[in-house]
């Protein structure tokens, strides 16, 4: 355990922020979804690091991560299905072109 906990946290925050940038800046919805996946992964790193450094004998942290996997998979499936569906209608999945609904 030579690596300080804060290194993991900073890494996770950086990964989270990079993912968030992808969410905010990419035009293609699939790329946005990839950003979301990065964010979830960052949180997983957080959780596992906390588990290892704070409660190594209680496996709740790891169990939490498994649930995040499940949710991420479900979310990706539904999200991608939505994108394919909207692609069929509009022939585009650029997020910034989806602005028929506003104000």
């Amino acid at each position: 355990m030579t690596v300080p906990l804060s290194w993991y946290l900073i890494f996770a925050t950086a990964l989270f922020s990079i993912g968030f940038f992808g969410v905010l800046a990419r035009r293609n919805a699939i790329a946005v979804l990839m950003g979301v996946e990065l964010m979830l992964n960052a949180v997983n790193v957080n959780l596992v690091a906390f588990w290892r450094y704070l409660t190594p004998t209680d496996l709740s942290g790891q169990i939490f991560v498994v649930f995040v996997f499940a949710v991420a998979a479900a979310e990706a499936a539904v999200g991608l299905a939505l994108m394919i569906s909207i692609y069929r209608t509009r022939k585009s999945i650029n997020v910034d072109e989806l602005n028929e609904l506003k104000l």
Partner: protein
């Protein structure tokens, strides 16, 4: 705790689970023949059974923790009953609307039942993991339901925006939860609360987690500035789903915000009171002022429901131990009445949309009093309730929430809320004005199906009943304030 106890305590959830599968099965067997009517009927019966089970539990064995992560307490049961009724009303009203719009009607009703299941789990959850799963479960079913009208650009756009917003907010929520876990080493809400209380000098760093969790949960309750998905989504979604999202789903959001803040963040009460007060003021003003400028009634209701969220939040801001004006009881009765009022108002748009071919602009309401006096009267009743004018459910809710605020000596907050009711009265009345004081450009009456009429009538009766027999409902609410904070089996 033996098996029969578990089955009994989880009976609402189990009934919903079985109902969901039965609905799909029934629809597979009868597809095309009845346009989903059987499936809808089964779903409604299942929801009513689940509500009855919840009511039964309410009287039998309140306040127990089941399987470490769920508290079967009166607080949760209250929201369960409210949400089940709301979803059942939405389903009945959807039958005519959805027939012909989609081939997957069984799935539609099954998803609504599963959404009810998600709410049911969420409002009872006392563990960060279950809260996360519950929120995401509710969100994912909502995304699908919002985008259910395949090929309809607005519905699809609404769904994808909701999805992107919800997924990102979910990640932020999760980040906050991971910090809570890191600070306290546990995922149980009560234990988190205790650990934060014992946190010593640095305990205020828990505020970081609080902010992230607030953003992640607040979006469900459409609190400003986490509300922006809401108007677009309510506008584009199938109208019954807008009704669902702005009522039952929002109620679940408030329920869980309430539980997390009261149990896990109880030590931060002075801090979050200020933050939530600011958010409530922002939410009220933004919702109401923007609603003022809308030309489409559907969009106006979307913004109005944001404004309403601001009033509801005041209940949490003014939380106290006062037995009469404790704040949370105001929040609960407000939400309970609001479910009926807003479901009614949104569903009333269905016949209007049908008549106009999709538009809900103010002009479509012109002269409705002549063309369909009953419908106009019902709409007026719902709008009056939203405006908080007695003797309706909306008045009772506002009365308790405002009284709690004033009771806490938050005079400025009370005054700002009062200003908002005046602004809101203006745009609600504007619709009444269109219905009663304008010559209609459109000719002919508005037809309302039997199912929808039943739902509207139930809503109207409930709106008035809560207003008139407030004694009965408030007794119920006041007895529901119990929050299970103990952990363990």
């Amino acid at each position: 705790m033996n098996v029969s106890d578990i089955i009994r305590l989880l009976s609402p959830e189990l009934i919903l689970l079985i109902t969901g599968f039965v609905v799909i099965g029934v629809d597979l067997a009868r597809r095309r023949e009845d346009e989903g009517r059987t499936a809808a009927a089964v779903a409604v019966v299942g929801l009513i059974l689940a509500a009855l089970a919840a009511i039964f539990l309410y009287f039998s064995s309140p306040n127990q923790i089941v399987f470490y992560t769920m508290a079967i307490d009166l607080y949760g049961l209250f929201f369960k009953v409210a949400a089940f009724i709301g979803v059942a009303l939405v389903i009945i009203a959807s039958v005519n609307y959805m027939a012909g719009r989609s081939k997957f009607l069984g799935e539609f009703y099954a998803l609504l039942v599963f959404a009810a299941l998600a709410i049911s789990v969420l409002v009872s959850a006392t563990n960060l993991i279950l809260i996360y799963i519950g929120i995401e479960f509710l969100s994912i079913t909502s995304y699908i339901l919002t985008g259910f009208l395949r090929g309809n650009e607005r519905s699809e756009e609404a769904a994808i925006k909701y999805f992107l917003y919800g997924a990102s907010a979910g990640a932020i929520l999760l980040f906050g939860m991971s910090l809570l876990f890191g600070l306290t080493g546990t995922t149980d809400l009560a234990a988190v609360g205790k650990a934060l209380e014992a946190g010593g000098d640095m305990h205020w760093l828990g505020l970081v987690a609080l902010v992230l969790v607030l953003a992640g949960l607040g979006y469900k309750a459409s609190l400003v500035p986490f509300h922006q998905w809401a108007p677009d989504t309510y506008d584009g979604a199938p109208t019954p789903i807008s009704a669902f999202l702005s009522t039952a789903s929002k109620a679940a959001g408030f329920a869980i915000v309430g539980r997390v803040f009261l149990v896990a963040f109880s030590d931060f009460h002075p801090e979050w009171t200020q933050v939530l007060a600011a958010i409530a003021v922002l939410t009220m003003f933004l919702g109401n002022l923007t609603a003022l400028k809308q030309k489409s009634v559907k969009r106006m209701l979307a913004y109005s429901s944001i404004g309403q969220a601001g009033y509801i939040l005041l209940g949490l801001v003014a939380v106290s131990n006062d037995p009469t004006f404790g704040g949370v009881n105001g929040l609960m009765i407000y939400l309970f009445g609001y479910i009926f009022t807003n479901v009614g108002a949104f569903l009333l748009l269905l016949p209007i949309e049908k008549k106009s071919g999709g538009s809900t602009d103010m002009e479509q309401f012109d002269g409705l009093a002549t063309r369909a006096p009953g419908l106009a009267l019902l709409m007026s009743l719902f709008l009056i309730s939203l405006a908080g004018i007695p003797p309706t459910a909306g008045f009772i809710g506002k009365f308790y929430v405002f009284a709690s605020v004033i009771n806490q000596r938050m005079i400025v907050l009370g005054a700002l809320a009062a200003v908002n009711t005046v602004i809101a009265a203006f745009y609600y009345l504007n619709v009444i004005r269109h219905m009663y004081f304008a010559e209609s450009a459109v000719e002919g009456g508005v037809t309302v199906g039997r199912g929808l009429m039943t739902v509207l009538a139930i809503n109207a009766i409930m709106v008035l009943a809560i207003g008139i027999f407030a004694q009965f409902f408030m007794t119920w609410v006041n007895s529901s304030l119990a929050l299970v904070t103990a952990s363990g089996f």
